[in-house]
């Protein structure tokens, strides 16, 4: 399996990202009535919270699938040079809607590779307060507001990472990635930073082939 590049042609749909951002995705997420593509179905099930219809067994299956997706795209020659960092959940850990799904995926990946590869996964960024998840509100948080509540976890800052890969489920405006990038690059100025998303949100079927050069 191959990842897809978030190219300049996609930037109008992720307006906080810039041409310099190095981001990748597995598939596209649209707001249609069905969730039948492999990636949409994966994301839809991965976001389920306890008590929701289909939480069990689909959430566990989605976590497993996400682990396999990530394992399928990493170069074994480079795996020990990278640090995988989840975007923190929108809710604090004491919030009933707290869902640490990306961390769960990364832990699962580390566990599965154990014995063959040493995978560096770290919650380098934590956040000091909850906010409305960006897919459920009109008044979206800005990268600056996010930066203000993001903190580097100094307990896990060493050894200093050289290649940080920020992992999240859906790339929407690019707000979280931008805020993560900003905080991480200030603290680790020599580290390269990339983003990998399970899906990128495509708005109204997008405009990527409609724009002239």
């Amino acid at each position: 399996m191959r990842l897809q590049v978030v190219s300049d042609a996609h930037l109008s749909e992720h307006h906080h990202l810039t041409s310099d951002d190095d981001c990748y995705f597995f598939g596209e997420f649209t707001a249609g009535r069905d969730n039948w593509t492999p990636v949409k179905s994966l994301v839809h099930n991965l976001k389920k919270l306890p008590g929701e219809v289909g939480y069990s067994p689909y959430k566990a299956e989605a976590i497993e699938k996400a682990i396999n997706y990530l394992a399928g795209i990493i170069n074994s020659n480079s795996i020990e040079k990278i640090t995988l960092v989840p975007v923190p959940p929108s809710k604090r850990s004491d919030d009933p809607k707290f869902d640490d799904r990306i961390w769960t995926v990364l832990c699962g990946l580390q566990e599965k590779l154990k014995g063959s590869y040493r995978l560096d996964i770290r919650k380098l960024i934590y956040q000091t307060e909850s906010y409305q998840a960006s897919h459920t509100t009109v008044n979206r948080i800005t990268p600056q507001e996010l930066e203000d509540i993001y903190r580097v976890d100094e307990d896990s800052a060493l050894p200093e990472p050289s290649m940080i890969i920020v992992i999240d489920d859906v790339l929407t405006s690019g707000c979280h990635y931008r805020a993560m990038h900003s905080v991480l690059s200030k603290r680790f100025p020599s580290a390269k930073i990339k983003g990998i998303f399970l899906a990128r949100r495509r708005v109204d079927y997008g405009a990527i082939f409609g724009s002239p050069a």
Partner: protein, 307 residues
């Protein structure tokens, strides 16, 4: 325990990530070669199992083609949401690999979800059906939609048009797999229908835009039967409503059996004394449909939920 792929380069990725715009240009570049055909392209990728189209061209060549292509896509304000799907990415429908010469790439507009419909059938037939043929198509599609099937067809005049329209009228889902480029309207009288399918359902085309624009109807007509093979691969079954002895529909009938898909032929075809193909296909495994239950009975166990 999982094992990872080795890439000798220093990239963090096992394989180079793809840029869909580049692959689109590369697909067009492959088709610009005079020897190109779906068979020839499938052979290239069979012989180079992990290759993607862009690996066969220089970036300059692809950029030049991209410029040419953009003219066909129109201005941003007329954006029609063109998109493309490439083999080896997560959302490529793997059932396409059941075709004899699988396509590496296709253009689409609309909801890609429908290419992964948990229940899907192609309803196809002649461009000039009898009144009874149209009535049968509409009735059949109404039943299929009520049973949760997504209706695939080819957007041609006649049975195809009746099938798409009936699916929409009954609140169902429909997919048009067309034999013309995604940027063209064909046939003209279906312009509104094509647009509605692209906006609310799914429109698929494997036809190379530039090659098509450079050749005459004589060369371009060969794209029609090729889309029938793709349509069959994307669905659980093909149902033939009405078709003459020389109909392109029979290409799809052959493909369905080859791809291990169910093939249904309406009883009325068998009763037509002027044609012999129904009996021939029945001998090879096609199912004669006397009632709607003949279809659902054969599909219920063959269509596990893919949700």
């Amino acid at each position: 325990m999982l094992d990872l792929k080795v890439n000798p380069s220093s990239s963090i990725f096992a394989e180079q990530p793809i840029d869909v715009l580049q692959e689109m240009a590369a697909y067009e570049a492959l088709w610009n070669q005079s020897t190109a055909s779906f068979k020839a392209l499938a052979t290239i990728f069979r012989e180079n199992p992990n290759a993607i189209p862009s690996e066969f061209f220089k970036t300059d060549e692809l950029n030049a083609i991209a410029v040419e292509l953009r003219k066909h896509f129109g201005k941003p304000e007329n954006n029609k949401g063109y998109n493309a799907c490439l083999f080896r990415t997560a959302d490529y429908p793997t059932r396409l690999r059941d075709a004899e010469h699988p396509i590496e790439f296709f253009y689409y507009r609309g909801e890609l979800d429908l290419a992964f419909s948990p229940k899907s059938v192609a309803v196809v037939g002649t461009r000039s059906p009898s009144e009874e043929g149209v009535r049968r198509t509409r009735k059949l599609v109404a039943h299929l939609v009520n049973s949760g099937f997504t209706i695939f067809s080819g957007l041609a005049k006649g049975v195809d048009t009746a099938a798409h329209r009936a699916a929409i009228e009954h609140g169902g889902r429909t997919v048009a797999v067309i034999g013309t480029p995604i940027t063209e309207v064909y046939p003209k009288e279906n312009a509104d229908l094509q647009e509605e399918i692209a906006n609310k359902h799914l429109l698929i085309s494997q036809v190379p835009i530039l090659r098509y624009s450079k050749q005459t109807y004589m060369g371009n007509r060969f794209f029609f039967p090729e889309r029938n093979i793709t349509m069959s691969a994307l669905t659980d079954a093909t149902i033939i409503v009405e078709a003459s002895e020389t109909s392109g529909t029979l290409i799809q009938a052959r493909a369905a059996l080859k791809q291990n898909r169910k093939l249904f032929i309406l009883d009325s075809c068998f009763e037509n004394p002027t044609i012999t193909w129904p009996a021939k296909f029945a001998e090879r495994g096609a199912i004669r449909v006397r009632s709607f239950e003949d279809i659902t009975g054969h599909l219920s166990d063959a269509t596990p939920s893919r949700l």
